[in-house]
Symmetry: C2
Subunit: 266 residues, 2 copies
C-alpha cells in the first residue's frame, strides 16, 4: 500500500491544478464552502494558491465535470447542492408514482409531438413494420420543478388512434392507456448507459455539458406482451440513481394523477 505514485494523494508531478482541485474539493466536503454558496472568484483563487489563471480554471473544470460546483457566467462559481433521487425500475415502473414515493412532486412538460414513420430501431422495438406510423411525444420530466429527464416517447398509431388528442388532456400515460382499455402494463426491457449530453440535452436538464447523463431506452408492453411504447431519453447524471428490482410486488394499480398525495415511504 505504498506505491510509488498516488492517485490523489501526493501528486507533485508538477500537478498544481490537481492540488488546487483537490483542496477545493476537500473544502467543499468539509463544509468550508457550503452547498449553494459562491466560491472565491478566479483572481482570488489565483492569489490564494499562487498559480496562474489557467491553472485555476483547469481545476474548476474538473469540479464541474464531477458535479461538485456549477459555474454561472457573469455571476460566479457555486457549490452544487446535492439531492439524489432514487428512481425505481421494476416490472411496473410509473414516473409519477415513483417520484411521489420519494416524496417529490412530479410534473412533465411537453415540448413537441408529431406523427412520423417508424425508423428501424423503433419499428423493431414496437413489433411493427418499418415506416408504419408512430406518434412521437417529446417531453421533460421534473421532480419538484427541477428537470430530471428529457426524451422521446413513441406509440404505434395503429394501436392508439388519436392519441395526440388525449395527450393534451392528461399528463399521466397511465391515465391515457386507460382510455384505450389498457388497465395495466409492464416494463419489458430497459437499456441503460452513460455518455456526455449534447449541448441541448444539458440545457434542458439544467446541468453542465461536461457532466455525464444516464441514457435510457425502454419498451413497455401490455399484459399480453405486445409492445405499446418505446422511449429514448436522458436523465440528469448528478441527480438520479436507478434502483432495479426483480421481485415485483404487484402493488395497487391506481392512476395517480394529482388527486391523492402519498409521499415518503423511506
Amino acid at each position: 500500500m505504498k506505491r510509488a505514485e498516488t492517485e490523489s494523494s501526493g501528486r507533485p508531478q508538477r500537478g498544481q491544478w490537481r492540488a488546487v482541485e483537490e483542496r477545493i474539493s476537500r473544502d467543499i466536503a468539509s463544509g468550508v464552502f457550503a452547498p449553494g454558496s459562491r466560491l472565491p472568484n478566479e483572481t482570488e483563487i489565483m492569489q490564494r494558491f499562487g498559480v496562474g489563471r489557467h491553472t485555476v480554471r483547469r481545476a474548476i473544470a474538473g469540479l464541474v465535470a464531477a458535479g461538485k460546483v456549477r459555474v454561472e457566467q457573469g455571476r460566479g462559481t457555486f457549490v452544487e447542492e446535492y439531492s439524489v433521487i432514487r428512481y425505481s425500475i421494476a416490472l411496473r415502473t410509473r414516473f409519477n408514482r415513483n417520484l411521489k414515493g420519494e416524496g417529490r412532486v412530479p410534473s412533465g412538460q411537453p415540448i413537441e409531438d408529431l406523427e412520423m414513420p417508424a425508423p428501424p430501431v423503433i419499428a423493431a422495438a414496437l413489433h411493427i413494420r418499418e415506416g408504419a406510423p408512430v406518434y412521437m411525444i417529446q417531453r421533460r420530466g421534473f421532480a419538484d420543478s427541477i428537470p430530471i429527464s428529457y426524451g422521446r416517447n413513441y406509440h404505434p398509431v395503429a394501436r392508439f388512434p388519436d392519441i395526440h388528442l388525449r395527450r393534451r388532456e392528461s399528463a399521466s400515460m397511465t391515465q391515457i392507456y386507460k382510455d384505450y382499455g389498457i388497465t395495466d402494463y409492464v416494463r419489458h426491457s430497459t437499456t441503460i448507459f452513460t455518455r456526455l449530453p449534447t449541448a441541448e440535452e444539458a440545457r434542458l436538464l439544467a446541468q453542465p455539458p461536461e457532466q455525464p447523463v444516464l441514457a435510457m431506452q425502454k419498451v413497455d408492453v401490455d399484459l399480453e406482451g405486445r409492445p405499446i411504447a418505446y422511449s429514448d431519453g436522458v436523465w440528469a447524471g448528478g441527480r438520479i440513481q436507478f434502483v432495479i428490482t426483480h421481485d415485483d410486488q404487484p402493488d395497487e394499480m391506481h392512476v395517480d394523477t394529482t388527486s391523492h398525495e402519498r409521499k415518503g415511504n423511506d
Copy 2:
C-alpha cells in the same frame, strides 16, 4: 433541418474550439480518421485550423471526455475503437454467462482480499450486525482481456466460512456457492448511477479519467431471500450498456467455468 449551424443553435460566440472539436468529430464519424488510427499532432491541427495550441487542446479534451479519442502521452492521439458490450441484468445475473452470451471471453483478476468488520451500509444490505465479519474480495472483470469492471464483493463470513480458501481455486462465484450448498441465487436489487472515475478506477479500467463510468451496487440473495453477497463497483462507461429485463426465463442452472463454450444467443 437547416438550422444555422451547431445544435446549440446560434453559438458562434467566438467558439473556435467548438468548431475544431466538431470538425474532428465529424471526420471520425465519417471515417476520415479511421478507428485506431492516429490523429494529426497538435501542431498540425493548429496550422490546419489556424488556431493556437490551447484551442486545439480544448477541442481534444472534449473528444476524450466523449470517448471518441484516446490520448497516449508521448505517442499521440488515437481514434477510439468502439465495441459496446450489452450486459444483462435480470433475476439471474451471471458475469461469465453474460459475457459468453455476447460472444466474449470472460475473465477475472483478484486484486486484494481480506476479512473486515462490516460497515453500516454493507451490514444493512447483508442483514447482519454492523461490525460482523465480512470477507471482501476486490477484483477486475475482463471481456476479451479488456477491463470492463472493477469493484469489491462482500460475503458474510458466518455464512461462508473459509471462503477465502475457495476463492483461490475458482474464478466463478457460481461454482463457489455450490460448495456451500447454494445451487441457485438471484439478484435482489441493483442500483446504477454515473459519475467520473477516480484516478485509480480510470487506470484499472484503462479509460480516461475524464470519461464517466457506470457505478453499480447490488445485493444477491439465495432462494429463501437471504442476502449472500453485496457488491460495489464501477464499469467502463464507454464499453458497457446494461440491459434490464424483468420477465425472467429460469434458464438452466449450470456452472460454466471454462469447460463448455456456448456463445452468441442473440
